[in-house]
Each structure stands twice: as C-alpha cells, then as structure tokens.
Symmetry: D2
Subunit: 365 residues, 4 copies
C-alpha cells in the first residue's frame, strides 16, 4: 500500500508535534506538509518549532519548510492540532477546499453536522458528514479527558444502561500545551480549575454515546457531573468514576465487560489500534500515571479498583495517555478508520454506503 501524503496543521504546537512523532514510519500516512501560522511560514520547521518530544526531531522533518494556514495544500488528508483561537475558520476553509480535516481541536466538535468519533464506539456517527456543506469534511475526536470517560462508559452503557456518573479528574500538565501551565502554579500544587473542561466532559460524552438518526445525533441520556484538576504529573489523565446503572451489574460483570471490550479498530486491525482498548489492572494501587500511561503504546486506557460504591453502584479509577490516545493518537485512529473502511479510495457517498450499509464488503478490501 502506498502511503498517503498528509499535512499537519498547527505543526509547531504540542499536538502538532505529537502528530509528527506518531506518524513517523506510519504504514498509511506520510507527513509531507507542515502548516503553522503565517509568522512561522517560509522557514525550516526545526528553526521555528520548540521541539518538546522525547525523541529527537528527524532532519527530514526539521528541514521541511513550514507552510502558512493561508496557503493552499496538496495533501488530501489534514491532521489538525490548531489552537482553538484559529481552528474554527481555518478548518472550515480547508473542508470547503475539498480536504478531509481530521481535527483534534474543540471548535467544531459539538457542531450538529460534525461527527465526534471514537472508532471503537460510534463509527456510525461518521454519516453526519453527509450533512456537511463542504466538498471535503471535518471529523473530530473528543477532548482528552472525555475520551477516557466515554470509552469506559460505552460498553457498560450498552449492556447495563448508565444513568449517572460523578467524575473527578487529575490531569497532566502536558494537556495544557506549551508553555501551558506555569511551574509556579503547579510545583507541589493542585489547580482545581481547567477552563471549559467540565462542560466538555459532560456534553461531549453525551454526544459520543448518543444515537445517530436521520435528523442528527440524539445525546445519550446520562447525567454527568465533572470536577477537573491539574496536578503535577507530566503525562496521563487520571479520573475517578462513581456510576449509577439502570440494571445493576456485578463487579465481575463490569470487570469482564471492560476487559473484553473490542471495537471496529480491533476488527480492522488498524495500525494504531491496541489489541484491547481497555486494560483492567487488578492490583490494589494501579493504574498510576508514571507506570501505566504507556500501556499499549499509550493507545489503551487502564481501569483499576473496580468496586462497589456505597452511594451509587460501582466506582473505579481510569487512566489514559492524554496526548496519545487522548489527542493526536485519537485523530490518527480516526483517519486509519476512514482509510481502511474505504472512504479515501472511492467517492464520498460510496464510502458512506460502504461503511454503514455493507461493512462486510468494505472490510474485505
């Protein structure tokens, strides 16, 4: 299979950098264009980017000349890690110009005609694209902390019905970009506030777990209350959940439902898909960000301490890698899903058809 050329929008930012790292040697995609603000455009990437990744910048990428968001692009697929202050109109412009914008930015997530996708959970929501006014399309993934909550609730909700969940998050500083959180605010401290994060957790989760209909997605009727905190951890968002069910399962049922959960990416054996999207840890003091965040290359979330809740039915703790599965890795998995299910090699409506009405066929390719 020939690798498809792709562009990274917002390439100098933290999500953009993570796209570059995760797409290195990717079997489907090859980074051919790096796009940033007009201020950086025209210069070698290595010169304008404050590289903060754990592996060194390759000279190939470092020497690539940065393009401006105002230029036209050659790549059909664009990965967007644009800052939310500019993502809105820029992503629309490229979608109008026929590009497939795979976005990690928050701007269009809650738009009625934009699919907010976790491929293991709601690939059928991709059909929303038919409602978009673009010749291309915009496809989004959720906020990082939403990702882990929605992924955990999905299999439980389908099987037992989730009525309500109280969630408290302890989020890593890498989720705030760079320079992001000032060291004076977080060394030995907790910041009990992340702008708009609690709202995102509540509304995005309801959309992801919602039901697709001709008229759009009907949000899931799950009450969600979130309390979000920044903590002095580098990578990995931890969340405590207390869940109320319609049909109360046993602890063993919950454990097995989570551990056995698989979705479309596993079925399709997508390159970024972990064998099991949820890993259940049975030790009494796990998961821990420092020790478990890289489980399955950061693409699985870890769940631990599943036990009875004296107030609701079940409580547990979950952990995921916020910049991998919770951001750039999620976008890449979305793109892999689209490519493997056939969109990119046929026309748009055929693709919708192939994914949603005769998946058996598309899976054969």
């Amino acid at each position: 299979m020939e690798r498809l050329p792709v562009a990274v929008l917002g390439a100098t930012g933290m999500v953009g950098q993570k796209f570059i790292v995760l797409l290195e040697n990717h079997p489907f995609f090859e980074v051919k264009e790096l796009v940033a603000s007009p201020r950086s455009a025209g210069q070698p990437f290595g010169k304008v980017c404050r590289w903060k990744q754990e592996r060194p910048l390759s000279s190939e990428i470092g020497n690539m000349i940065v393009k401006s968001t105002e230029e036209e692009l050659k790549s059909k697929i664009l990965f967007s890690g644009l800052d939310s202050s500019v993502a809105g109109p820029v992503e629309e412009k490229f979608a109008h110009a026929g590009h497939l914008v795979i976005s990690n930015s928050k701007n269009h997530r809650m738009d009625e005609d934009v699919p907010l996708i976790i491929p293991e959970i709601n690939p059928d929501h991709l059909e929303l694209i038919k409602k978009q006014p673009y010749t291309g399309a915009i496809i989004t993934n959720s906020n990082c902390s939403t990702m882990f909550l929605a992924m955990t609730l999905a299999p439980l909700h389908r099987k037992f019905g989730v009525d309500a969940v109280n969630v408290t998050t302890m989020q890593a500083v890498s989720g705030a970009g760079y320079p992001g959180v000032a060291s004076l605010d977080i060394l030995g401290n907790i910041i009990p506030y992340i702008k708009d994060e609690e709202e995102k957790l509540e509304t995005e989760t309801q959309k992801i777990l919602g039901t697709y209909t001709e008229k759009g997605v009907i949000p899931a009727d799950i009450k969600i209350s979130a309390q979000c905190h920044r903590v002095p951890v580098y990578d990995g968002h931890t969340e405590t959940l207390s869940i109320k069910f319609s049909n109360v399962p046993s602890i063993e049922d919950v454990r097995n439902t989570l551990a056995e959960f698989r979705g479309l990416p596993q079925e399709l054996k997508l390159p970024s898909a972990p064998d099991n999207p949820i890993v259940v840890l049975d030790e009494e003091d796990r998961p821990q960000p420092l020790r478990d965040v890289w489980t399955n290359r950061g693409m699985s979330l870890c769940v631990g301490r599943i036990r009875e809740c004296p107030v609701f039915d079940v409580k547990m703790i979950i952990l995921g890698h916020n910049t991998v599965r919770g951001a750039a890795g999620a976008s890449i998995l979305n793109a892999e899903t689209l490519v493997k299910t056939g969109y990119y090699s046929t026309d748009f409506h055929n693709w919708i058809y192939s994914v949603l009405y005769s998946r058996e066929d598309s899976l054969k390719r």
Copy 2:
C-alpha cells in the same frame, strides 16, 4: 493562668513533632515529657529524633531526655501521636492510670465508648467518656481527610439534611508520616490507594455527625463513597464533594451556611480556634494547597467552587492542612475545649456535668 504540664506520646514521629511545634508558647499547655519507644528512651530528644519541621528544634526540647511508653508519666494530659501499631494498648494503659489521653491515633476512634470529636461539631459526644472503664479517659480526633469532610458537611446536614456524598481526595505526602511515601512512587505520579482511608472517611464521618444518646452515638444516616489518592503535594488534602440533600438549598444558601459557621471553640475563643473554621473562597481556581493551606494558621479549611451538580445537587472543592487541623492541631483544640469547659479544674463527673448540662456556667469561667 498557669500552664498545664503535658506529655507527647510518639514524640519522634511526624505527628509528635507537630505537637511540639504547635505547643511551643501555648497559653494553656507546656510540654514537659517526651515519650517514645523504649528504643529511644533515655536519650536526648535531639539525638533520636529526625526533626522534619519548618522551624528549628529548640535546645530546650532537644535536650529533653526521652521517656519510654513503659514508664509512668507525671503529666495529667497526654497528647498521643503514637503509631497505630502500638497506640491501642499504650493509650489504654495510660487511661487506666488516670491520664487524659488526647489521641490522634486511629485505634480507639470507632470504640463505642470513645468520643470522636470535632469541637465545632459534636462536643456533646464527650459524654461518652462516662461509659469508659478508665480512671482517666481517651478522647480522639478523626483521620485528616475525615476532618475536612465532616466539618463541611456538619452545618449543611443540620440545616438541609445531607443524604449522600461522593468524595474524591488528593492527599499530601505529609499525611503518610516519615519516611512515608517513597519518592520513587510519587514524583510526577499519583497513587490511587491509601490503606483503609476510604473506610475511615465513610465510617468516621457518620460517627462524628451522629446523634448522642444514652446508649451511645447513633451514626448519621448519610451515604458516603470515597476514593482516595496520594499526590505530589507536600501539605494539604484536597477533596471534591458532590452532595445530595433532603431539602435542596440554593448555592447562595450553601455558601452562606459554610461561611457563617461557628462552633464552641469560636464561642470560647480557644487559643487554637480560627475565627471562622470554614473560609469560602470565591475565585474560580481556589483553594490550592500551595497557596491556601495555611489559612488561619492551618486551622481553617477552605471551600471553593460551590456550584450546581448535574448529578446530585451541589458540588464543591475543599482543602485543609492535614497535619495541623487534620491531626496535631485537632488534638490540641480538643484539649483546649476540655480545659476551658472546666474538666481539668474540677473532678471528672463535675466536668461532664458542667460541659453538658450547664454550659452557661462553665463558659463563665
């Protein structure tokens, strides 16, 4: 007023050290005896203690010869910061010998005849002492994280009735004693497990908020579900609460009820009592351990982000100083309450009488 001689049990431990710091220049008490394990006994305190406090050890205390828990003591009042592995029988022995043991240890907290006291909330529980088989008595304060939860719930429960509360804690390393948490386990990490902590939060809070009767304390009928974590913070336990009420108050009602809360220590103007035991912060990103833990010398807890909860009725975040208000300072406030209400200057039964049946009289002293 002449200062009463007191002893500190478990003086070399972290709670013992904090007793020494907080009792320096105390108007009621003077540390005259330092008690530790037989291993340390007979040696100068400064030699056997690994002093970890922010102010230097005074030479007077440093030169004091440590006594063994097996010796007899002269002080009537004993502050106990004994390790739970030994506190049980040692505290009983001293209570039998006529001492008033003011304990921060967990061993006797849930005993039916032992009062578990927060003086602002349940000083009437002191009457439990009458049931004790000792010539002296044992009086305890709660676990640190319980302290802040119970203090917050108490005024709300009385006014509006609390049915249930989900609580997630982020607890400082100083709560684990010394050497306590290994740096390899907590630098940049979260440990989602503290042995027995969740159970303590649930049962101790119910006892503190319970009702005193002739037959003992009837625990409050509040459902509590706790999830406890150790985080890389030095001092200060943060807790998120989501509360369900019988009679749902407005956010303003909750705010004012907490901010206006006062109790017996404030009435008695006890030396360690803060003017207001609960300080409400209105900034959107407070309280923070690094900035707010020393509010009113660490004796007040801070509450912030009081807002509506989509699942229950009200959510908020609370913060308290775990080794001051949550441990040694709590014991000292208990002792101040006893002294000021008259116990120590009359005989035991007279004291019970004076405290509980004619407090007006005792308050005049």
Copy 3:
C-alpha cells in the same frame, strides 16, 4: 517616625508583588503608588495583577488605581521591579525627575556611575551617585544568585584573599518571574542554562567586591567561573563553591569568619536586617531550600558543609531566598540604609558626606 510614601514600579510582576508584601507595615515606608505598564494603568491593582504571593492581597492595595510608567509620581523613593525590557529608560527618566530609584532590575547595575550595593559589604560604593547626571539617583542591588555568592565571599576575601572560585548553582523557579518557567520544562527535570546568569555572577560579584576610588569602582581581582541551572524547587537558590585563597585559612577560620560576619545594616539595626546575615549550619545535610530558605525571614543566607577541597582550598554549599534577600528584600535593605544614614532627610551632598565621612554623626540620628 513618619512613614515615607513610596512607589513600586512594575508592581504587577513577581518582584513588584514581593515589594508589596515586604513593605506591608514597614516602619519606614508606605506604599502609596503602584506603577505598571500603560496597559494596566487606570485600573484597580487587584483587577490587573495575577497575585501569586503566599498571603492574600489586602483590599487597600487591591483597590489602589495603577499608574502608568509614563505618568509623574509623587513619591520620592521608587522601588523598581520593572522588567528589563523597559527598566532602562524608565528608571533614567524618573532619576532625571528627581526620584531616588532603588532598583532590582539588571539594566543599570554595571553602569560605571551606578552603585551595585549589598549594604553589609560595600555601602561606600554609594558615593558613585555623585557621578550620576540625575537630580535624583539610581541605586541597584545585584542579581539573586550573585547576592549569595558575593555575601559569602566578602568577609573571606577581606580576611584571607580569594583568588578564584568555581560555583555551580541550582536555582528555584520563582527566580524566573511569572509565568516564567513552563512546567513541561521543569517537572522532574533540570534546565542547565539561564540566559546571561553566569556572566552576571562573574561580573557583578567582581564589582560588588571591588574597591571604590575617585575614578570609579575597580573590580576585585577574583576569578569566578559559574555554571547555572534551573531545578524544580519553588524558592531558594543553592550554590556550591570551591574556593582558592591567597592565605589559606583553616576550616574553623572560614566557619567563624562567616558566622561572625556583621555589617552596616546590623550596626544600624535596620528593620529588614537579619541579626546575622550568614547563618552557618553544622548538620551534614544542610542547608536545604525547603527547610532553610526562610531563615531570618528570608534575609539571611545559610552556609553548610564547609570542608577541605582536594582541588582548591575550601568547598561549601550556600543557600539564600532568591525573591527576598536576592531581590525585593535586598532593594528594601538598600533603601533602609539610605534613609537611616541620612540621605533622605538632608540634601544630597550632605547625605554623601554624612554617610561616608562622618558616619558616627549620621548613626546618631
């Protein structure tokens, strides 16, 4: 004594905030004007300042309307914590307008006619003011890490002659202002580079320890080599020194010389002066920033582990509070020195006279 009205330039910055904290209830000075960039001017201080201090902002200061650096000021004495990007011309402007600018900014420190003062060491350098072209004057204190190095070397240099010193620093994040160091750069990390810091340590120390002459200050002939690092510590700069002497003293000599060191501020009993500017700690594992940085309210530096050096003669470790003694507190001590020695209550030349030629007289006031 009536308190003199003062202004704080750069009041919203970290050094400016520390000026406000340290000047609260100061016996000599009263903050009457807060000055910041035109952007903040005209608004209440509490609204434009991101307050990051450990004690809450008083309502009096919080309600004060911020003035612009472009306005005229009423206060005679100005404390400058201006950012170095603007301090140069602004400080000159105010000095020309007759103000006494007590500056913590680096811009004019190395000017030939500007005294770089540590009052314990080189108050005679104040005479440089006579060379200034201003109707007022500019007086500076050193860079934070320089302060601790120069203070340690001064008494040793006078007594034994210091030929050379190798110094490695481990500097706290609060020294970088706010937002300053990004948490992604420093959590669990060391940054082995602080712009211009090594040069400042080398040149400023030579000037402070230099000799005043009619023609200016002749820098001390001490070879200094510095290696500077940012470490994940909140407050407190630690420095290791390895010193080569002209006349090699015994370890005991070094220890006593440092411990017994006193200067003009001690003689004058200035309000901010510590009893002993250098505190020698004899424990094998001290000083430590977390435990020792507040020694004498952050105005003393601590020295420990004084021992023989196999390469040079003596090695040791020093620690000081970078935002107190190393910045705002240093400026305030400079101002106290000026006031107490008589400048402010007489005319300018009389003051020079009184300080330098008949200090006995001025000390009587």
Copy 4:
C-alpha cells in the same frame, strides 16, 4: 550462539530488577536463577518483589522461585546487585565457589586485586583477576556518578592530560534504591549530601583512569573535588565539570575528542554497547535529564555546554542514566566484554592470555 544461564543476586532490589529488565531477550545471557535474602527464598519472585520498573514483570520471571544467597547456584555468571550491607562476604563466597561475579556493589571495588572496569576505558585492568585468591573471580563497575565522570575524563586525560577537576552532581532519586529517598525530603527540595558519594567519585575515578602494572593499578594523578546532591529528578545524574589540563586543548578539540571517542565495546559490537559512548549536544540548554537520559537506550552519556572556564580551562555539563549505564547496564557490558573476548569459552588463564596478549585472536571469534 547458545545463551548462557546467569543468576541475579539481590534480584528484588532496584538494581536487581533493572538487571532482569535489561537481560530480557539478551543475545548472550538468560536469567535462570533469582537470588535474594533467605527471607524471600522459596517463594515466587512476583510475590516477594515490589516491582518498580516501567515495563510489567513477565510471568516467567514472576513465577520463578527465589533462591537464597546461602544456596549453591548453577549459573556460572552471577550479576550482583546485592545491598552493600551483605555483598562483601556473599560475593566472596560465590567467587570461591568458582563463579564469575559481575558486581555493581561497592564493597570490593577498591580492593587491590579487583578490577573496576569501564570496558571503553580500562579493559586491561581485568588482568587484576590473576591476583585474586578465588577459583572464580569478582569484577566490578563503578558507582553511577563516577561512571559518567570517568568516561568523560578518560579520552581527555589520554590526549591532553587532566590535572584537576571540580565536579558538582545533581543526582536522581532512582540512584538511592527503594524505598530510598523519602518524598518529604525531596519534593521541591535539594539534599546536599549523599553518604560516601563524594569519596567514591574521587577515589574510584582515580583507580579507573589509573595504570595497570604487575604490582597493581597505580591511581591516576588527577585531583578531583566533588560536591554531591540529590534532586527531585527520577532518572539521570547531571554533573558540572570544570577541568584543568596539562596541555590546554581548544574547545573544538575537547568537543571532537569526546564525540569521536570509541572503545573496545564498540570495536567488538557488543549487544549493549552504544555506537558512541559519549554524545555531544550542541544546543545551549542541553542535556536535560527528562529529555536526554534515554540516549542510546540509556547506555550513552550526554555532554553539553562545552565552553571556556574563567578559573580552569574548560567547563561542561554531563548527564547519564544512573540505573542503566551507571549500574545494571554497566555490569552487563562488563559481562559481554568478558564473554566476547573469550574468557567464558576457554579456561581462565587462556582467557587472560587471549584478552590481554593476543586480543587480535580473540576478536576474531
């Protein structure tokens, strides 16, 4: 090549665990025996070991029954990560019993007949084994911080002659084992003391850089002065060096000499050998532990900021992975050197011969 069975002594400790991690899938060695104190013996490793590594414990290792240090062992090669409180006699016992003890423990490092080896630098010191009274042998690697200092100095010393070096270290907490450093001592703090560390840096470096003679190793005549600190960093020891040379090289000479340095392990293409043992970084703010410690899988050290020193000749900063290249990885590289140079496949004296007198022959194998 068939894998040789090996045992890990002190397998439950931090160094022991790292041996297990690094020996997984090793081309030469296969862990067949895990040895610990009699207390742990007889039980499955997974039950008695508090596993603290970044990758999960394999079930094969986890199920292995731990042997006691008092038992006889089958493996010829023993990797020792024994605690220094027991390593001395235990290692001797096994050496007498014919085992080749490759030790990371400090106990025998400075023994006259024990080689202290960095294979890139002094493989000829292996000949010391001939003086040992054992049927087997003891071979040691240095202390972690010594490793990086000696490796940096070696090529410079050979080429330009090093007279003296001042070194200040900032050492990670993982160097102190588990539980090791208490979090209360290191969160936001620096501990300016590591027991015996400064002495080790000084004496071990002199031995490693020393000259082998018939009568033993003559220590290198380099004056070394070390100041050692523990800092809140997880992995990676940082050291600042200020070096005085006999023949002062240019900065470029120093840079190239370090970057081009290669030794026997590179020549032999040993499995654990990095292509270049020293990686020179040219950015002004590198190396940083968080970003550079895993360079070449933690087997290379990084050097940065090579520049002129106003006091000596050249200063620089170095960084190495303390538990990989500085401990377990160093031992493994020592063992690989022995095996590849022929010891293990011939008799002892033949091996000595083959290594030292006809290396060309041995290299051909």
